[in-house]
């Protein structure tokens, strides 16, 4: 599924690199002891270090370092035991220091790889260029007053990981898959909650286009601060076709930063203050280089959870699931745990079907997360057992499942309460079949004359007589035997 854009004189491909800012999960900030929780009152989670009062000194939070290393290991990346914090200088109202403490020449994590699960079941590797740690900035509100902006420094100094990909992405879909996969990995690791709506994960994109067959990269444009996967995909689509049109018209594509207009789905250049972007990086004299020992890294590595790729491989190998189903089930750690609890001691494919088709369908319709599911894994397991034992037919199980969703009750309780037990007593069914055959000679004749469809009418009559509780396999078998006589 190659993504190509038709130009006037041939096809173009799009080359995309992403920069993702993920807020590190930690209690306190990167260089101060102020809290990081989302949604506090303005300036209530600000220390004098964050407010850049004179004489304040940064002291690094060891847990943030650990989280960055953990993420690096999850990206199968090289961990740099020596890294350096530098000052990135610029002025903005929500950056009281006048510089952001970041890493530049010596990031804590180097090259790595993320594997994408493509919809057709194949995989594709996207290279990671680096991951570095830096401070988040504060938040500006521009809509509170006609002449002033309001500044809240609660976010100032929260630890960010900036993850930069290689220009390996070739379509909006791949960019979307990459972001979802990265988010899934970070959530498994517990290093970033990946919530783009709350801003704990944000994305910048670098987009260029080139004629199919070209090997050099053309000039790229950057689109900043996209806060949903859908916006990332829209911005890429728009940028790619804008650039193809420019090249076709003989216009120059300039290297610039653009902003995404989510209402229109378009991008526009930022006002030209580009010349001011001279960050004058230099090593922060307040912070010594960050030196890690290999034992520290090894300890983190030994304690890593099973990550989505490994889990997927295991689900395919141990449970015989299709790559697609396995991929769906491992996308979230909670879903994977739920599925494993349902599958425990049962047929894994049946369990996978119930979780993916019925449970996900119902949760999506209700807008619920797996952690809010009214049906517990244990209860869904029991329901599957009731089908296995012949107590419930597939159709009845659906009915019980719907009742479980509504009430959160145990399936056994619902079966007892509604008198739903399937009739699998062959004697009872046989009696009904015999009666029907005796009372309806016309239909019996039609069947015996070769009209196989009449059997459906008989099944319907039996289900009517038993309120749908007759075991359908048994009904079919008995009918065919008796009518065939």
């Amino acid at each position: 599924m190659t993504y190509l854009i038709q130009g006037d004189r041939g096809d173009w491909e799009v080359v995309i690199g992403l920069e993702i800012h993920g807020q590190v999960v930690s209690k306190a900030k990167l260089f101060s002891g102020a809290a990081t929780a989302f949604g506090a009152d303005p300036n209530c989670q600000v220390s004098l270090v964050d407010a850049a009062m004179p004489g304040m000194l940064p002291v690094i939070n060891e847990h943030c370092v650990e989280q960055a290393v953990r993420t690096g290991l999850g990206l199968k990346a090289e961990i740099n035991l020596f890294s350096v914090f530098e000052r990135k200088n610029y002025f903005y109202a929500d950056l009281p220091q006048g510089y952001q403490i970041s890493q530049y020449q010596h990031p804590i994590v180097g090259e790595g790889t993320v594997v994408l699960d493509m919809p057709d079941g194949s995989t594709r590797e996207i290279g990671i260029e680096r991951l570095h740690m830096e401070q988040d900035a504060g938040k500006s509100l521009h809509d509170q007053d006609p002449r002033r902006s309001f500044i809240d420094l609660n976010r100032t100094g929260v630890c960010l990981m900036e993850i930069v990909t290689k220009p390996d992405i070739r379509s909006p879909e791949e960019a979307g898959l990459f972001l979802r996969k990265l988010r899934s990995i970070m959530r498994y690791l517990g290093t970033c909650d990946g919530n783009m709506e709350e801003g704990s994960m944000r994305c910048d994109i670098n987009v260029s286009v080139r004629s199919v067959g070209e090997t050099e990269l053309r000039t790229r444009a950057e689109v900043k601060n996209l806060n949903s996967v859908r916006f990332v995909m829209q911005a890429i689509e728009y940028e790619a076709s804008r650039q193809v049109e420019a090249h076709d018209a003989g216009e120059e594509v300039v290297q610039e930063t653009r902003l995404f207009d989510s209402a229109r789905g378009t991008t526009r250049p930022m006002r030209a203050k580009e010349f001011a972007h001279d960050y004058r990086y230099f090593p922060d004299p307040d912070l010594l280089p960050l030196q890690l020992d290999q034992a520290f890294v090894d300890r983190i590595k030994a304690a890593l959870p099973e990550l989505p790729d490994d889990k997927k491989a295991r689900f395919i190998r141990e449970f015989g699931l299709s790559p697609y189903d396995a991929g769906v089930l491992v996308a979230s750690r909670r879903v994977a745990e739920y599925f494993e609890a349902v599958a425990e001691g049962r047929d894994p494919k049946t369990a996978a079907n119930w979780v993916i088709t019925n449970l996900f369908g119902a949760l999506n319709a209700k807008g619920l997360d797996i952690s809010e599911s009214p049906v517990s894994a244990a209860a869904l397991g029991k329901l599957i057992d009731l089908i296995g034992k012949g107590t419930l037919s597939g159709r009845m199980a659906k009915e019980v499942f719907d009742a479980m969703l509504e009430s959160g009750q145990d399936p056994e309780a619902i079966v007892a309460e509604r008198g739903l037990e399937q009739i699998s007593d062959s004697g009872a069914i046989e009696g009904i079949v015999d009666g029907l055959i005796a009372d309806n000679p016309t239909q019996v004749e039609q069947y015996r004359a070769g009209n196989q469809k009449v059997i459906g009418w008989f099944v319907g009559q039996i289900m009517k007589a038993t309120q749908g509780k007759a075991n359908p396999q048994m009904v079919n078998k008995l009918l065919r035997e008796k009518l065939g006589e």
């Binding site: 930690s26 209690k27 306190a28 101060s32 002891g33 102020a34 809290a35 009152d41 303005p42 300036n43 209530c44 989670q45 600000v46 220390s47 004098l48 270090v49 964050d50 407010a51 002291v59 690094i60 939070n61 060891e62 847990h63 943030c64 370092v65 200088n89 002025f91 903005y92 109202a93 500006s140 509100l141 521009h142 509170q144 007053d145 006609p146 002449r147 002033r148 902006s149 309001f150 500044i151 809240d152 420094l153 902003l259 930022m270 006002r271 001011a276 001279d278 004058r280 090593p283 912070l287 010594l288 280089p289 960050l290 030196q291």
Partner: protein
């Protein structure tokens, strides 16, 4: 390395320091003197010497992930010229 007036003007802008054009030439001379003085260090042969980050054998001090600071908005905003509803306020900056 010598600074000209244009470079000084750019540096002044980046540092948000207002310098009248008439002062640029004099400032360039002063800065050039300082740079020239520091550049004497270039005479030392540092071939094969690792860059040094500290004169003491120290490593970066690290703290535990505990909330130990903050929750004093009144102190944070004490010097702010026009605080409102717990926010700093500044002349409108909007893209």
């Amino acid at each position: 390395m010598a600074l000209d007036s244009n470079t000084v003007k750019k540096i002044a802008f980046l540092a948000r320091i207002k310098v009248p054009d008439s002062d640029l030439g004099g400032l360039a001379n002063e800065l050039n003197n300082i740079i020239g003085w520091v550049e004497q260090l270039g005479e030392v042969n540092t071939e094969g010497v690792e860059p040094m980050t500290s004169v003491a054998e120290m490593s970066l001090y690290k703290r535990a992930d505990e909330v130990t600071d903050g929750a004093y908005p009144e102190r944070v905003l004490a010097n702010a010229p026009e605080p409102e509803k717990g926010f700093y306020t500044v002349p409108k900056v909007v893209e």
